[in-house]
């Protein structure tokens, strides 16, 4: 019987294991140094905030693994010997494999700031990081102020977490507006305002120069690059992005870039070794996607794909239309298709932007200047139906069509205030159009004919 070993029990590794089990009787072993059981990494924040206990963020009950004959090994993989098809665990034990799947995810970036390894300076990625945060910032008396460095998704989550315990937060963001490398200006502005509403001290265009520690090596303050200002604090959150967690592979002969280099079949340069999830790096980017995608659902999809390949149906990794979502404090964000911020926006991409006068709700629609083809949509404070936008993107609909049928795509709970009328009429005004918005049709939504 073939021995499949998976390093990493995150969404990618677990998806691979589940689908290999669905398709075959192969022996499956998952090695993880982080936790005994799979948990949802994206939900770690809710444990700190007291919304859930750690056991709640484990999607499967503990009996699930034995029942499905998925063996779980709690160990750290020191190195991979691809010649002998062997892993070294905890510096002592060896584990043989016939096929190896690397799904080790990422680790927080550290950019060589002086003092970055002091006690109280930490990232937020793993279960261990969460436990460390409980030590560094259990409450506002132990942690009198926190400084967060890096204005991305993890940064704002960490800010929300700390605010849930009333810890004062200063948020240092390198960009001139929050996450404006990704978000168009209007949206980024909306989030800036919302961050301040939550009494977070947002400092834009501000970089960290240095972290200062006291005589015990504990963080006591940070120095700001631009002004030289010294901010005293007890926690420094380092949330300036993540990098693939692949140091243990350096001597293995597996081709590495920033991540583990893979082809479209998720195969590495060495036979029977695959890499999936956050740690995998495509030789060539797929469409507008980045070569390394640290996104929940791409991890899941790579796991499903590699399971097919390993079970004898060699398959290319072909992600569909881009989509994603996040939540910025109280504002939900969804995106379908491509809407670029200033950075990297192609010349043909034009935007239509609408924002409600009072509510924190806005929409940006991207379309092709010449062909009028709909390219993508960002929504803040409105939920949209994935299936509908996926269909419209496939059908290459025009922006006029999207505006006409926008109500079909709404996914907000029943009785919610509808903004589609306002959106369409602003579109008509902005572009001198005369689109009549159609009423919601279950027939169209569910494609009943």
């Amino acid at each position: 019987m073939e021995n499949i070993v998976i390093i990493g029990n995150g969404i990618a590794g677990i998806s691979a294991a589940r689908h290999i089990r669905k398709l075959s009787d192969k022996r499956i072993i998952i090695v993880s140094a982080e936790t005994d059981y799979f948990f949802s990494r994206t939900a770690l924040m809710y444990v700190y905030m007291g919304h859930m206990k750690f056991e709640h963020i484990q999607p499967y009950e503990n009996w699930f693994w034995e029942k499905n004959r998925i063996e779980l090994v709690r160990a750290y993989v020191n190195s991979v010997d691809t010649k002998n098809k062997q892993l070294l665990l905890d510096g002592s034990r060896a584990l043989n494999y016939d096929k190896l799947i690397i799904a080790t995810g990422s680790k927080p970036n550290k950019f060589g700031w002086p003092g970055q390894d002091s006690h109280g300076a930490q990232g937020l990625y793993s279960k261990q990081d969460l436990d460390l945060l409980e030590v560094n910032a259990p409450n506002k008396d132990v942690c009198k102020r926190a400084v967060i460095v890096g204005g991305g998704l993890i940064g704002i989550e960490l800010a929300e977490m700390l605010r849930s315990r009333d810890i004062p937060v200063t948020f240092l963001v390198r960009e001139s507006s929050f996450w404006n490398g990704v978000l168009p200006e209007g949206e980024s502005q909306l989030i800036n305002e919302h961050i301040k509403e939550h009494h977070i001290d947002l400092r834009l265009s501000t970089n960290l120069k240095e972290i200062k520690a006291d005589e015990n090596g504990k963080v006591k303050s940070v120095i700001i690059e631009e002004t030289g200002e010294e901010l005293s604090c007890n926690l420094v959150g380092l949330t300036a992005g993540v990098t693939p967690n692949i140091d243990f592979l350096k001597e293995s002969g597996i081709e590495l870039g920033r991540g583990v280099k893979v082809n479209r079949h998720l195969e590495t340069n060495i036979k029977d070794v695959y890499a999936i999830g956050d740690c995998a790096e495509q030789h060539d980017a797929i469409g507008n996607r980045r070569p390394i995608e640290a996104v929940w659902y791409t991890g899941r999809m790579m796991g499903e794909t590699v399971a097919q390949t390993i079970c004898g149906n060699r398959l290319e990794y072909k992600p569909g239309h881009w989509f994603n979502s996040a939540k910025f404090l109280d504002i939900e964000y969804q995106t379908y298709g491509w809407v670029f911020g200033k950075k990297g926006r192609p010349d043909f991409e034009q935007h239509f932007h609408w924002r409600h006068s009072i509510d924190k709700v806005c929409v940006t629609v991207a379309f092709h200047k010449e062909t009028q083809q709909f390219l993508g949509i960002n929504t803040f404070g409105i939920r949209m139906r994935h299936e509908i936008f996926d269909r419209w993107l496939t059908e290459e609909r025009s922006i006029d069509y999207v505006m006409e049928h926008l109500t079909d795509a709404n996914f907000d709970p029943e009785f919610y205030k509808q903004y589609e009328g306002e959106i369409t009429s602003k579109y008509n005004t902005d572009f001198g159009k005369n689109i009549k918005r159609k009423r919601k049709s279950l027939k169209r939504i569910f494609q009943m004919s």
């Binding site: 969404i11 689908h19 949802s40 994206t42 939900a43 809710y46 444990v47 700190y48 905030m49 007291g50 919304h51 859930m52 206990k53 750690f54 709640h56 963020i57 484990q58 999607p59 009950e61 436990d131 409980e134 259990p138 409450n139 008396d141 849930s164 315990r165 509403e197 929940w296 659902y297 999809m301 499903e304 794909t305 097919q308 149906n313 398959l315 072909k318 992600p319 569909g320 239309h321 989509f323 979502s325 939540k327 404090l329 109280d330 939900e332 969804q334 939920r383 949209m384 139906r385 994935h386 299936e387 996926d390 996914f411 709970p413 029943e414 009785f415 919610y416 279950l442 569910f446 009943m448």
Partner: protein, 534 residues
Amino acid sequence: MSTYDRSMALTGQPPKQLSRNQKLATLLGFFGLAIILLAAFNVDFPNKGLWLTISLSAISVGTIWFSWDMYANKEPGIKNDGVWFKSISSQGFWGWMAGIALTGFYIILYFYPEYLGLVAKGDNKGVIGLFDPLSRALSGNPASQWFVYGTLYTVAILAFGIKFLWKYRHNRYERIRTISVMFFQTAFAFIIPELMARLNGSSVLNGGSLPYYDLKNMWPLNYYNFEGYRIKGFLSSGDIGFALLIFGIATVFIISPILTYKFGKRWYCSWVCGCGGLAETAGDSFRQLSDKTVKAWNIERWVVHSVVVFVTLMTTAVIYSYLGNDTSKYWLTKSTFLIGVAALLTTVFALVMIFKREQLQKDAKYGAIGYFVIIMALIGMHFLSGDGNVFLFKSETLRKSYSFLIGSIFSGVIGTGFYPVLGNRVWCRFGCPMAAILGFQQRLFSKFRITTNGGQCISCGNCSTYCEMGIDVRAYAQKGENIVRSSCVGCGICSAVCPRGVLKLENGPLKGRIDSNQVLLGNDVDLMNLVNQK
């Protein structure tokens, strides 16, 4: 190790503490409760009307003040910070204390009302005496333990309803739903029946007197609705009484199936029902305590469906026992009735087996067992007795045990008393036969479902954690499947707490509603097909 472990340390400081306003509000609320408690120890208040008003106002204002301080100065949004750090909402010390206090209250209420001051002949004393002025103002009669309970119940739904409205002020579905349960409790469960009692003996009712009737309370939740004394009451009260009896039957067989078909059982369980109303308002802080394991689900299905079998048999036996044998006196006789019940059950069973067999899968077997038990019992009833015996049990014994075991112990003592320990929908989930019947309709004959939004789920678990019915919502959402579960009461909280906009309660076409082959969008078409292969 995370906080909920750490906060056990004596030196540690829990991250959530009451603010000064919250402490004062708690004090005020407990002052209101203390008046009732003092009355229970027979402290004789001079001006009962005034003291009752002070007490109920203090409880309401205390609750509302507390929630105002909790939510008013925060941005609209999900407010679950620290839920698992507070001892009251995480099965901690205060949770258990509250559970014990509530359970004790229910035991006294159901079994020892004399301790609350009920006096059969003469003026009430104690707590019940305190409530006399209000009862006289409404119905003209002195209060009973049930009036006291009804009043406190309504106050709880209104005060905690306001808390809920604040907490979910960003969510219109939750707001409208909550206003609905507050309205139905106040008007239908509390005021209308009391006012109706004023009509008793009047010419409008031909001098008859109606049984106490909460119109929205259907059989089998209202398991006693067709008992002999009530039928007599209805029939003695002229056209109005007859109309109410017909309405009672129509709610079960016509109105509820139609509404459940269109909207799912939520139209009742989380919009109208009083049990649901209390669970959604006063019980909201305990929704996360429901057990989500597969084991709990198995227990739930066996227990709740056994209650349905029990209540069906009990009601049939009771009606059977008071019907006659003579067709010339009244068209409905013992045997016509039994045949009618058997025919109805057979029709339902046959229709389900013919048209919905696929969707039931292995549950079909259990359905068949339940059906078989009832039919055998009906046959036994016919041949073994003239008095509605079911096997060896008299119908009266059956009625009494149902009333004691299910009506009192299950729905009250365990169902509500254990809110802080087992979650706020223990009764609705494990015990309520009404919920089971509506759930059966919802599963098989309804447009309602919770739609999963393609591939957006991140398996975070908020939906499952905050599902009061213990449904593992995430298990469906992360596979891209719709959630079509008979137990779902449609409270909408899973959708509200979802950080990624994945869940939507909606009424849509029947085709593709229960679709175990739902695809996760984002995958390319080939992979979807492969992943969906079974």
